[in-house]
């Protein structure tokens, strides 16, 4: 069998209705009847392990009890009070490693209460129902806070600050607010424009304005924010993509998975997106899974997700890995890229070296594997843009902003949270908690009475 010499990359591999079907909501929302029956399974644990396991400490038994009582609005309030992005977290949280792993029903019946789906039920129903605002803003404090980055951390921070009576201006480099929720997640996780609906709900509290198309790239800009506002929160995420550092990375058909996902999310018509017949995705995280599955859904014939270590080391959760496999993605492990091969300037294959563990370290062997590819997506992680942190006097560690427990950076008056700070697993729910804690810290500082 000879490899085709012309790379097989094309758009419109599917019919119009196939795109709709394939990118439909993957979340299987609960019906009202299902929610009631599921809610009844909750034991209303004391000092509930699920709440402890939740980075934002949602009062899970209370919100589930309220669903069971027919008080869905009260359930949503309990969720959103602790986690203003409870709707998105219900969709993207690895619940099987957080609240649902802690559920005592696992021990008893081998099946946790479906906390994530119940949470989604309560928040979706309540946001869709509209009506009076869930939260009333505290009396105006007259304080103004700048939030840089309209992703989960920045939005959570802004919402909590607004609740406490502060005015907030959010700045974001993109065209739309939402951050990774809008640009970095698979479309089927946030079907029906949920990311934007959630942003609209968050902003509906009032007191938050959003400036898009504004990028923080100089120390002078930060200095100006500091002097204009009473506090600054940085939730800038990780704007840069790690390079593979292997020959052939600049060949046509090789791109970052982040860009691919963002383009897909913003595409008005999925049939305009070109996709290779054979796609290789390099990486082991959620982004790699989102890129792999969506490549498959766009009509790629063979999608291979390749990771340099074993399945247990992947940062994609087990459920995500299985989701990829269910969708026809082939997962290959213990292979690290050594070169991307091409012809006439376009990628044709990726050559990998087999990895083994020797003396506790991963090392390459002489065995090499070549996987043919018309397209290659790099998903080996992102990193913080290098500027303007050193110039602005913000301390970094391991390429990320150093913060205290309450989100303070080394620069007085500046807080930070989300993926751009060190620590954690870069989960959406952790970013939300960072934003919330920073907001509470900012609030405490801005309202402290001077002795």
């Amino acid at each position: 069998m000879s490899l085709p010499t012309v790379p097989d990359v094309k758009a419109a591999r599917l019919s119009a209705c196939q795109y709709t079907e394939r990118f439909a909501d993957a979340g299987q929302p609960l019906t009202a009847a299902q929610a009631l029956v599921e809610a009844e399974r909750c034991l209303y644990c004391h000092d509930a392990p699920c709440t402890t396991a939740c980075p934002t400490s949602i009062g899970v038994p209370s919100f589930i009890h309220r669903i069971a009582d027919g008080n869905v609005r009260g359930a949503a309030k309990a969720i959103l009070e602790a986690n203003p992005l409870g709707g998105m977290c219900a969709r993207v949280c690895p619940t099987e490693e957080l609240c649902e792993q802690a559920c005592v029903r696992n021990t008893e019946l081998g099946k946790p209460v479906e906390i994530g789906r119940l949470q989604r039920f309560a928040v979706d129903k309540t946001i869709a129902a509209g009506g009076a605002p869930l939260f009333a803003r505290a009396p105006a404090t007259g304080k103004r806070v700048a939030v840089v980055g309209a992703g989960p951390a920045g939005l959570a921070c802004a919402h909590v600050l607004a609740r406490h009576g502060h005015d907030v201006e959010i700045f974001d480099a993109h065209e739309k607010a939402g951050g990774l929720n809008e640009y970095g997640l698979a479309a089927y996780k946030t079907a029906g424009e949920f990311a934007q609906r959630e942003v609209q709900w968050l902003l509906s509290i009032g007191g938050i304005s959003v400036t898009t198309g504004w990028r923080l790239s100089s120390a002078a800009q930060l200095e100006e924010l500091k002097s204009t506002y009473d506090a600054v929160f940085l939730g800038v995420g990780m704007g840069a993509v790690n390079a593979l550092g292997v020959p052939g990375e600049d060949l046509a058909g090789v791109r970052s998975a982040v860009d691919f996902i963002a383009e897909l999310r913003q595409a008005k018509d999925l049939s305009t997106l070109p996709i290779g017949r054979r796609v290789v995705v390099i990486g082991g995280g959620m982004t790699a899974v989102d890129a792999s599955v969506q490549a498959k859904l766009l009509g790629a014939d063979e999608v291979t997700m390749v990771y340099r270590r074993g399945p247990e080391a992947m940062s994609a959760s087990k459920v995500e890995q299985e989701w990829a496999q269910t969708n026809g993605v082939t997962l290959r492990h213990w292979l690290a890229p050594v070169a991307i091969e091409g012809q006439d300037g376009h990628v044709t294959a990726v050559r990998f070296a087999r990895q083994v563990i020797e003396g506790g370290k991963v090392v390459a062997t002489d065995e090499q594997v070549t996987v043919p590819a018309d397209m290659v997506f790099k998903a080996i992680g992102q990193k913080l843009e290098t500027q303007p942190w050193p110039d602005a006097g913000i301390e970094l560690q391991g390429g990320r902003i150093v913060v205290s427990d309450t989100g303070r950076t080394s620069l007085p008056g500046v807080w930070a949270g989300g993926d751009c700070v060190s620590g954690g697993r870069d989960l959406t729910v952790e970013a939300v908690e960072d934003g919330k804690q920073a907001a509470l810290s900012i609030h405490a500082e801005l309202t402290a009475t001077v002795a």
């Binding site: 009844e40 004391h46 029903r105 021990t107």
Partner: protein
């Protein structure tokens, strides 16, 4: 295999499961289906005098439901049979002729006048029915007209009407009692004085199911207005069992045959009634929820249970639990139980801890040890109240251990006495007898 046949005041049936007088026994069509399914007998839906009563043309029933809509309680405002008397009598005659081995009891409710009872009794006897049940229990509608529970709430009326029935028919007379009274023993005694062959209980309990939150009208209602109904189903079973036991252990009525009614849907439920002395059990709600076929599960379950216990007939089982029911004052105050938590079964929900802490005796500790949530009984605080056992979601995870005589009760610091001592002789009792 155990013999489930029953002979209740001379009324024979192949098993003790009868359908209670209610919608399921309204007419031949239903009763024939019931007999085909295996029911041991029926109490035909209550007959009254012509012209027949009229029912509302709106909701007659409503339910208290769990979240997955299991029926826990059931409410009805249906009256007695709304069909002509002659039609009912003709169908009773035919069905009894076609199903001679099944119990055919006819429920009756006519005005509290001797002439009314004297008129209807021969007509019923003429059908070949096995017995009659006097409906002194219906708590809605009919009671407003001086019948049903209005009779059952006045012991003198019970005695009087029962005596008339004994005078004008040879059929066994079962008196069905209302629970809407303060002490079930008085109506039972009245029935016995009147010559009743047996009592059956309970009829339904006065009930309002709730209020519609949107309209703030009583729910369900008939065109905006509602009236109280009669409540039955699983939720009433403990109330009925107590009443059965009260009659069984009262010296005046001990030995009076009882047909048990109230929330029976499984063989386990029937077992409760039979062990407390009932000769037969009557079922309605379970049939109205599941259909007639459930009788097969009930007879099969009871039969298997009896085999496993070595009981050959219902009489081997009947009344066995009754001697274990007594007054509070005779409970052994020297007996001490303590809760025991089996850590291997514990799922770490913490319910036992929080309820003991908030509402009971602060006798369950909560610590996190190496990531495990550990709950332990503090024997020096535990009074053996059984709350933790009651709320634990895992069967057998928390059990009660009886302390042995001589063992130290850590709460009091005293050894457990082997002596039986109750309130009647307790030093704190100002009216102690010794």
């Amino acid at each position: 295999m155990a013999d489930l046949s029953s002979n209740f005041v001379g009324i024979k049936s192949p098993n003790p499961f009868w359908l209670a007088s209610a919608p399921p026994t309204d007419k031949a069509y239903n009763v024939i289906r019931a007999f085909e399914a295996g029911w041991g007998g029926v109490v035909w839906k209550t007959l009254g005098e012509d012209p027949p009563v009229v029912n509302v043309n709106g909701p007659r029933y409503s339910t208290l439901l769990s979240h997955d809509r299991r029926v826990m309680g059931f409410n009805n405002i249906e009256l007695i049979s709304d069909r002509p008397l002659a039609l009912n009598l003709e169908e009773i005659r035919q069905v009894k002729r076609d199903w001679p081995d099944r119990a055919m009891v006819v429920s009756l409710m006519v005005p509290c006048e001797e002439s009314s009872w004297k008129r209807i009794l021969p007509m019923v006897e003429d059908t070949g029915a096995d017995g009659i049940e006097l409906n002194f229990g219906c708590p809605h509608g009919m009671s407003e007209r001086g019948m049903g529970a209005a009779v059952g709430q006045v012991p003198e009326y019970i005695e009087m009407v029962t005596a008339w029935c004994k005078q004008y028919t040879k059929m066994p007379v079962i008196v069905k009692l209302t629970p809407n009274i303060s002490d079930i023993r008085y109506p039972a005694q009245a029935a016995k004085r009147g010559g009743a062959d047996a009592v059956s209980l309970i009829n339904t309990i006065n009930s309002i199911m709730g209020v519609d939150p949107a309209t703030l009208a009583m729910s369900p209602n008939t065109g905006g207005m509602g009236s109280h109904g009669g409540y039955c189903g699983p939720a009433v079973r403990p109330i009925a069992l107590n009443m059965v036991a009260e009659i069984g252990r009262s010296p005046e009525t001990a030995g009076l045959p009882i047909s048990g009614i109230g929330g029976i849907g499984t063989w386990r439920d029937a077992l409760d009634y039979i062990a407390l002395g009932c000769g037969t059990v009557q079922v309605c709600t379970a049939a109205m929820v599941h259909g007639f076929k459930i009788v097969q599960d009930m007879t099969d379950g009871l039969s298997n249970y009896m085999d496993s216990m070595g009981f050959k007939t219902l009489e081997d089982l009947r009344g066995r639990a009754l001697p274990t029911v007594t007054d509070w004052r005779y409970l052994n105050l020297n007996h001490v139980s303590k809760a025991v938590i089996n850590p291997d079964l514990c799922i770490e929900c913490g319910r036992c801890h929080v309820v003991c802490e908030d509402t009971s005796h602060q006798a369950i500790s909560f610590d996190v040890v190496e990531g495990k949530r550990v709950f332990k009984i503090k024997e020096d605080e535990c009074v053996g109240c059984n709350l933790c056992v009651s709320v634990c979601p895992v069967a057998e995870c928390i059990t009660m251990r009886d302390l042995q005589p001589g063992e130290i009760d850590e709460r009091t610091g005293q050894p457990v006495s082997a002596e039986y001592a109750n309130w009647t002789t307790h030093p704190n009792n100002p009216m102690r007898t010794a």
